[in-house]
Symmetry: C2
Subunit: 341 residues, 2 copies
Amino acid sequence: MPGRKQTVSGLRIADVAKMANVAPITVSRVLNQPEQVKESTRNRVLKVIEETGFVPNQNAGALASNRSRLVAVLVPMLTNPLFSDTFQAIAEQLAANGYQVLLGISGYEAKQEQELLDVILSRRPDGIILTGTVHTEPSRKRLRATGVPVVETWDVSDSPIDMLVGFSHEEVGRRVAHHLFGQGYRHFALLSVDDPRGKVRAQAFLETLQSHGITDVVHHSFTELPALEQGREGLTRILETDSAPRVVVCTSDTLAHGVLTEAASRHLKVPEQVSVFGFGDMSFAAHTFPPLSTVRIDGKRLGQLAAAALLRRLKNGDHDIVNDDIGFTLIDRHSTRVQTP
Amino acid sequence: MPGRKQTVSGLRIADVAKMANVAPITVSRVLNQPEQVKESTRNRVLKVIEETGFVPNQNAGALASNRSRLVAVLVPMLTNPLFSDTFQAIAEQLAANGYQVLLGISGYEAKQEQELLDVILSRRPDGIILTGTVHTEPSRKRLRATGVPVVETWDVSDSPIDMLVGFSHEEVGRRVAHHLFGQGYRHFALLSVDDPRGKVRAQAFLETLQSHGITDVVHHSFTELPALEQGREGLTRILETDSAPRVVVCTSDTLAHGVLTEAASRHLKVPEQVSVFGFGDMSFAAHTFPPLSTVRIDGKRLGQLAAAALLRRLKNGDHDIVNDDIGFTLIDRHSTRVQTP
DNA sequence: ATGAAAGCGCTAACAT
DNA sequence: ATGTTAGCGCTTTCAT
C-alpha cells in the first residue's frame, strides 16, 4: 500500500466529513470559503474540527488547488540587521494574510541565489520576494518563465523581473557626496564593506567627489559583514595614513558606530576633529554619542510595500506594474557639522 | 477536470521519464536515491532534466512520501539580534542537509505561538525548532501527539517536549550576582526588558543579591525590545535616583551599550564611576568603549547543536534523548573592575 | 447549498 | 536495476 497516514490528529478531511454527516468537499469549503456553507452546517463541521483537533494537510491542498500559500523570501544574511526590519515587516504582513514564509538565505553572490532558486521553486511558492536586483541570467529567465509573482527589493533596476520596491544606491552615494561637499567638507575618508549594494554606494560617492575635484579619498574596504570592530579598525587605519581633520563616510551605520567608538576611545572630538556619516539610520543611530548623521532608509515601510504589492497580485489577480522608489533622507545629527569649516 | 498543470518548466516527472525512455519511478530515484540507478541511465535522465529545466513538485513528493523536507523554525522576533546567530546557523545547517526552513514569528507570548502552531503543522514539517521552553499546555500536547521531532532552544526545562539545547537563565542571574558581589561591588542597579527569559535572569539576580543582604537595587524595566535608547534612558533614570558609584547590570548587551554611551556623553568614567555588565556577548561587546563585561552565550553553537540534534533524528531515526546545557561564560572586560573598591 | 467523481504529481510497496 | 500499480489528502469541475 503506497503512502501512509500522515495526519496530525489521526484524521483526514474525509473522516471529519463522516463525523459531521457531510461530504468531504463541504469540510473543504468550511475551511476555505466558509461563506459558501450554510451556517448550521458550518457550525456542525467546525465543532467536529474543534473537538478532534483536526489540522488539514496543506501539501495535499497545494497539490490539488495549485496554490501553495507559501511565499519565499530570500535574504542575503540573517545576521545583517539592516534587513531585519524589512524581513520582519514582510513576514508579518504575509502571515496576517494567510501566507507562510519559506526562508532562503541567498548570500551575497548571485550564483548562490541561482542554486537556491530551484530548491525554492520545487515548493511552488505563490510568490517570491528577493533582496537586490542582481541576479544571474538563468535566474531571471527561470523566474519569468514560471510566471510566479516576484518582488525585488532594496534596489532599483531598469529591467525588473516583475515588481520592484527599492531605492537607488547610486543616488545615495551621489547625494551624500554633494551634501557633505556642500557643507564645506573637503577631506574625505570612506569605509565600506564589499556587499554588492554597498559597493555601488561607495563607487558613486567617489565619482561624485571626483567631479568636485576631490581625488585624495582615503578608502578602506572590508570583506567581513559590517561590525563595530571594522569601524574602529577603519578609523585607526585612516589616522595612520593622515591625521588631518576629515569626515569619515561609512556604507553602514554599524561601521560608523565603530568609528564613533574609536574616536571616543582616542578622545577625539566629534564632529570637530573627525566627522562621521553613516548609512541606514538603524535604531541606534539617533542614540549614539554624538548622534549619528546618516542616510535614513525606511526598511519597515519597504517591507510593507513589498508585501502589499505581492498580496495585491495574489488576491486580486491584478497585473499592475509596480516599480516603487521609496527614496531616502539625509539626516544631519551631530556627528557632522553643518557650518563651513 | 480537477487540478491544473502546475509545473515550472511545463513538465512533470512522467514527461521527463518518457523523454529519457524510463519509468517515472526511475526519474524519482535519480532525484532522491541516485545511487540506486545505473550510471548510464542516471546520466540519461539527468541530461533530460538539465536540458528541460525540470523542477520537481515537492508538495506532491511530500504528499506521496510523507516527508516534507520542511523544518519549521519559530523565533520570537526577527529584529532581536540576540537570536540571529542561532537562526542563521540553524538555517545553514538545515539547507546543507536538504531541508527548507519554514519561518514562524511567535512573538513573546505562548498564546500567540499556539495559534501559529496549527498553521505550521498544516505543512507537515519533518521537524520543529522552538525558541524557549514556555509553551501553552495545548501546544505541548499537540506537539507530543503528532510525534514531530521538536527541539526547544535558548532555555532549560525539567519536562522538555522532546529534545532541548539551551542554558539556564536562572543560573545566569545567580552567577552574575555572585560574580560582581565577589569582586566587591555593593551598589547595584538593574536594567531589564521584560521578555520571559530576561525576567528570569533579572529575578534570579535580585534574589541572589538579597541572599547577600543587598536589597536596595535600583531596578528599571522596559517593555520595548532592547535598544541603545533604553540603555541611555536607563542610566539617566538611575543617576536621578542615586548618584553613588555602582554597577549597572543589564539583561541585554544592547542595553549595556546604551549605558556606556550615556556614560560617555556625561563624561562619566567607566568603570571608575559607573561599571556596566551586559548579557549576550554580541558581536560588538568586545569593541565598545570600554569593552563590555558580559555573559557570553554561543548562539551560533547553540543553533548548530539544535540543528544537528534534529538532523540526527531525521536521518538516522535514532531516538536519543537530547538535553544539552551549553552553558555560558562570564567575561570580564573593562566596563567592570576586578579589584575590590 | 451540497455532493460525486476525477485527478493534482509524486513515491511506497511489490514485482520482475 | 528497473517497472507496475495504487494511493497520499485534498480540491476542481460538473451536477443536483
